[in-house]
């Protein structure tokens, strides 16, 4: 759409700016403030320069959480995006089934995150949970509170359960926007189903899939409640993702300086990677 230049449009976005600035800029400045100061309690603060940043960047603990976070995020992207596309391709296009599918699939998205964690915790318990009990009955030695591999398996399965539907819904919306004429033309040309997917469906889904990747990336990088309730970061520190580690340092040990420095580094990483995805997305729109 052709837009007219109008500087008074700023007045329209003023309420949004005031509210978001109150919620975003003030707390962010607090974090910046803490990140360069040292405190010994009594509300006395001393200038500390960049020592917290150096400390965080060099600390093996931060490296470990970051690596775990990256493994988690890229694993769920590698599973959820293709899986979501496959399910969307197999979904019916018309009829009463569509509504039933959509409503049932969207259900996990609306469950409070701590309930998701609690639900999977109970579901996976080896003694009283259906999944844990079932796996053990099948001969697997499954115990997600003791074994690192099992904890990761449960964590990834939970996230796939929770969020794959988002990808399905987006991919499906992209698919139904393809006019029937495209398929008819492809049939006349004798195109294989792979060719239809590669040259008709995939390009049409490109835009929604970029959004799916962007959303799943941001949300999985921020994930806190579900893994915290499911495993509490354990066994040991094996499932301690960045957010969990951050809350442990900030609210558990009250090390405000290091926690604040870590927050800023963490936020910058998300910002940088999201900016890359965002530019890709906007380029697609043009």
């Amino acid at each position: 759409m052709r837009k007219t230049v109008n500087q008074r449009a700023w007045l329209f976005i003023l309420p949004v700016l005031v509210l978001v600035a109150f919620n975003a800029i003030l707390p962010l400045m607090t974090v910046v403030n803490y990140s360069v100061q040292e405190t010994f309690g009594n509300n006395e603060f001393f200038w500390a320069g960049l020592i917290w940043f150096e400390q965080v960047i060099e600390s093996p603990r931060f490296h470990d959480s970051l690596i775990r976070q990256l493994i988690f995020t890229f694993s769920i992207l590698a599973i959820e995006i293709p899986l979501g596309v496959i399910i969307a391709l197999a979904m019916p296009r018309k009829g009463a089934w569509v509504s039933v599918c959509l409503v049932l699939m969207a259900l996990p998205l609306l469950i409070p995150w701590n309930v998701v964690g609690a639900m999977w915790n109970i579901f996976a318990l080896p003694d009283i949970g259906l999944m844990g009990y079932g796996l053990n009955a099948l001969g697997f030695d499954f115990n997600f509170t003791r074994q690192i591999g099992d904890a990761w398996f449960t964590l990834l399965l939970m996230d796939v359960w929770h969020w794959t539907s988002l990808v399905v819904l987006l991919a499906y919306a992209g698919l139904v926007s393809i006019p029937d004429a495209y398929y008819q033309a492809a049939r006349i040309d004798g195109a294989s189903s792979w060719a239809i997917f590669r040259y008709i469906q995939l390009p049409k889904m490109k835009r929604v899939l970029t959004i799916a990747v962007l959303l799943r990336f941001m949300d999985s990088f921020n994930i806190y409640t579900e893994p915290f309730v499911l495993t509490g970061g354990g066994p040991g520190n094996s499932t301690t993702l960045l957010s969990i580690d951050l809350v442990k340092i900030a609210l558990g040990q009250f090390d405000l300086g290091p926690a604040a420095a870590m927050s800023l580094i963490y936020f910058l990483i998300i910002l940088l990677l999201s900016w890359v995805f965002y530019t890709l997305m906007m380029r697609n729109e043009e």
Partner: protein, 265 residues
Amino acid sequence: MRARRLIPTVYIIFLMLPIYWLLNMSFKTTNEILGGLTLWPQTFTLENYVTIFSDPTWYMGYVNSLIYVSINTVISVAVALPAAYAFSRYRFLGDKHVFFWLLTNRMAPAAVFALPFFQLYSAVGLFDTHLAVALAHTLFNIPLAVWILEGFMSGVPKELDETAYIDGHSFWSFFIRIFMPTIAAGIGVAMFFCFMFSWVELLLAKTLTSVEAKPIAATMTRTASTSGYELGLLAAAGVLTIVPGAFVIYFVRNYIAKGFALGRV
């Protein structure tokens, strides 16, 4: 063709299994839950639900959650409407930067903001009020609402605006009487998403409340830690948190994807 029907069916069964397990447990007594694995409640009981509906510390959790979620939805959509209009119709200094800056707030990890939020809202005297949680959740809901509404508004041709002005409508008269009804579906979707993300968020809601405005999710975590392991009660409370979502989802089923795509399908 058979495989095509099989895949969604298997997926939906996978989605329903943990929910079935939760539902199953909510009708059991704690003894039966801890006693062993039963696929169906042997001694069917509604006691867990009775406890929740008769104990104020439980049911007030739901009331509190619903209050702050409603306030948040109203505030977010109300301020997002004019902003989205500005983004969809006008070009102005720094518009693209502001738009991206709004998105960055959607990326902000709640964990980063937990402590500063606690201090900020304590300082302005809003700690433990519904308004505090509602305002805190606007951090990620306003950007989302602006994005969704902007997408829907861009689908409305500009000729509609111009015709209305020629007919003698003032801006606000046009906006409220003509434009808002035109994008009613978009407003509904934006409200649904604000409801949803405010409903499922726990970390900020828990940090900003102690007694008066305590959300149901926080009540659940407390119960899990203090009174031992009352799993049946916990399961029943969990089931009840799914109900509002299941209820509203039905109304927006055809628009959910469009909302997630930020109005851009």
